[in-house]
């Protein structure tokens, strides 16, 4: 191997490392870290780097101007252009498939999020506001969908749907069944976020509203709802990103025409990773990160 070839083969790794150190360097300058903590910060940064490296690699290669090679050829936007409908770009996924999968993903995420947010917010409020026989058990059961492995949840749903198919065609593999499946795990997340928001509120606020001549409905409308809204929005965003991300549960409940993006990616990866999949993954990650970020901001603002 000539040095030039070696450099070419290692170019991808080099770019990643240079990128990482550039970020670390600017972070150090930005936050004016003391000398003594610089080594510590490097360790922390490497640990985070290890966590995010795969994502960074995918993002970098989504800009690589090569159909097959895993070394750096040149910068291009063309894989993103292809995803957004540029037919002239060769290779990769079929446009129609991609469009359908995107549509399915969004329909599934939006509908399941709306349902889960309504139900989860009610559950969170109910658990916060009322003590009834079994309320502690309910609060505890709420965490089960959060800690259950996706695969167990998926198989359970698959079995349940096979049983329920007799009752309604809604439980046939397909979008409606997927919506129900997503709602089942989303509810818990929404309820937990809403409940923690409500826990920060002074219980006397509702009493104050009642004291000032508001009936139960007006108290809900003018005091409780506006105050729990940041929690509800944060919960909804979390639910939305969970739905967009989900592969396992979707995979087990989907039908032939209800492929979502994660399922499509999984299916096409078996035929080799194409750069447009990198681009697609990068977009999904970006949407997820933005969603979580906004969710965090909403939860932070509530303290003010």
């Amino acid at each position: 191997m000539t040095p030039l070839e070696l450099l070419e083969a290692w170019s991808g790794v080099l770019i990643v490392l240079i990128g990482l150190f550039a970020i670390w360097y600017f972070a150090l300058r930005r936050f004016q870290v003391r000398k003594a903590s610089k080594r510590l910060s490097l360790t922390a940064f490497l640990a985070f780097g290890f966590l995010y490296l795969p994502i960074i690699v995918v993002a970098i290669f989504s800009f690589n101007n090569s159909r097959f090679r895993l070394d750096w050829v040149g910068f291009t936007w063309k894989w993103y252009a292809k995803i957004f409908g540029d037919e002239s770009v060769e290779g990769g996924l079929e446009g129609a498939q991609l469009l359908l999968a995107t549509q399915n993903t969004l329909v599934l995420a939006v509908i399941s999020t709306i349902i889960a947010t309504l139900l989860g917010a009610l559950l969170g409020y109910g658990l916060h506001r009322y003590r009834f026989p079994g309320s502690k058990l309910t609060a505890w059961l709420m965490y089960i969908p959060v800690v259950t492995p996706d695969i167990v949840m998926a198989i359970s749903l698959l079995l349940l749907y096979q049983v329920l198919r007799v009752v309604s065609p809604i439980f046939e593999p397909g979008l409606p069944a997927m919506v129900i499946a997503h709602v089942t795990f989303q509810i818990a997340f929404v309820a937990i976020v809403v409940r923690s928001r409500l826990a920060t509120l002074d219980p006397a606020l509702e009493e104050a509203a009642r004291d000032l001549y508001a009936g139960p409905l007006d108290t809900m409308r003018f005091v409780v709802l506006p105050l729990m809204l940041p929690g509800v929005m944060a919960g909804a965003l979390l639910a939305f990103t969970l739905s967009i991300d989900d592969f396992v549960i979707s995979f087990f409940t989907s039908g032939p025409t209800s492929q979502t993006l994660p399922i499509l990616i999984y299916a096409s990866v078996k035929r080799g990773i194409t750069p447009d999949i990198n681009a697609l993954s990068t977009i999904i990650v970006a949407i997820t990160i933005i969603g979580v970020f906004i969710s965090q901001i909403l939860q932070r603002n509530q303290k003010a």
């Binding site: 004291d211 000032l212 508001a214």
Partner: protein, 381 residues
């Protein structure tokens, strides 16, 4: 017949002057009975305090009147009308909450306007009344701010304005000053009294601070473990506590056990004491109380009710001073003096002095005095 009519009218007049009437209110939380049959009338336009240590049931009683809790038995009458079954929004009382409970997502103006909006007051009238209420508590310039941008004292004023703007029959105040620092608290005490006098509203003020209750109220009730220990005008209650609990809770008191030995004479651990208060029959046990500031210390012997003591502690308190002095029989007396001279220290530790307990200032406590509770109270202090 005529006499009966006069009696009827008089009874009606009395009823009309009563704003709030609790009739045999009982309330339990689980196994704990927090109110054990409270009977209490609060007069129209008076500043009334419910005073007691935490857990005595005073806040629960207030919450029952506001409608946040429901009594297990008994009746609550508001201007003669039974309100026990009404939800809070249908009762003409408003509450100033302990931690203000201002709506954090609304401006000061919207907070104050909330009650009027819920009652569908016309917008032109609403604006005048809200601004008027804000001016009354002198926070008109903060109308557009959010509660988070205000100081504790300013929030307290908003909470007050939010309640009085509705012109309630009765204003309930649940320890509204306890979160503020001392100087501000004293200022707001005076302002609250002035406000009450100006508006002529009935104020029911819940507090655990006896000084605050004594300063502000016309009448008060001292509560303990779900019962009212004593009810009356503030001066009466301080000067003539009916039992040891009240004597100790309202300031401090020297309590003396004794036996009636002759007419106007009680034999105590301090020796024979002359007492002006009516006494039970000879041979009966009684408890006497005398406030620390009513005892006079002097170097020369006095004629009657004089006890020889030696000073054990000399406590400097700024405006006042306190001495602890022990008798030869080992009884400790607390004596307060005003710091009127160049320095308070008239006497030194170890001085042998005479303590004069004026016979007209010794109070004979009622048979309801419970020594155990006095001991418990001292344990807390």
């Amino acid at each position: 017949m005529t006499e009966l009519n006069i009696g009827e009218r008089r009874k009606r007049q009395l009823e009309e002057s009563v704003d709030v009437h609790f009739k045999n209110i009982r309330k339990s939380f689980g196994d704990v009975e927090v109110l054990k049959g409270i009977d209490l009338s609060i007069r129209r336009g008076e500043f009334f305090s419910l005073l007691g240590p935490s857990g005595c049931g005073k806040t629960t009683l207030l919450r029952i009147l506001a409608g946040f809790e429901f009594q297990d038995s008994g009746e609550v009458l508001l201007r003669g009308a039974e309100v026990s079954k009404l939800p809070p929004n249908q009762r003409s009382v408003n509450t100033v909450f302990q931690n203000y409970a201002l709506f954090p997502h609304m401006t000061v103006y919207d907070n104050v306007a909330f009650g009027l909006r819920m009652r569908k007051v016309a917008s032109s009238e609403l604006k005048t009344r809200v601004m008027q209420a804000l001016e009354t508590v002198e926070i008109g310039q903060f109308a557009a701010r959010k509660p988070a941008q205000l100081s504790g004292g300013q929030r307290q004023r908003v909470a007050l304005a939010r309640a009085i703007v509705n012109e309630p029959q009765v204003l309930l105040l649940d320890e509204p000053l306890s979160a503020l620092d001392r100087k501000l608290r004293v200022n707001l005490q005076v302002e609250l009294m002035r406000l009450q006098a100006r508006l002529g509203l009935t104020f029911i003020f819940v507090t655990h601070d006896q000084e605050e209750a004594l300063t502000m109220s016309d009448r008060m009730a001292v509560m303990n473990k779900g019962v009212i220990e004593q009810l009356g005008g503030v001066q009466d209650m301080y000067e003539r506590p009916s039992n040891a609990y009240v004597a100790q809770f309202l300031g401090s008191s020297n309590l003396l056990e004794g036996t009636v030995s002759a007419a106007g004479q009680v034999k105590t651990q301090l020796g024979e004491l002359e007492v002006r208060d009516p006494l039970p029959a000879i041979g009966q046990e009684v408890m006497l109380s005398i406030r620390p500031e009513k005892i006079q210390l002097m170097r020369e012997a006095c004629a009657s009710n004089c006890v020889s003591v030696s000073v054990t502690d000399d406590i400097y308190q700024g405006a006042t001073g306190a001495y602890r002095a022990r008798t030869s029989t080992g009884i400790e007396l607390e004596i307060n003096t005003m710091n009127t001279g160049v320095t308070h220290t008239d006497y030194n530790i170890g001085d042998t002095l005479h303590a004069h307990l004026p016979s007209e200032l010794i109070v004979v406590l009622g048979s309801g005095s419970r020594l155990q509770e006095v001991v418990a109270l001292e344990g807390l202090a």
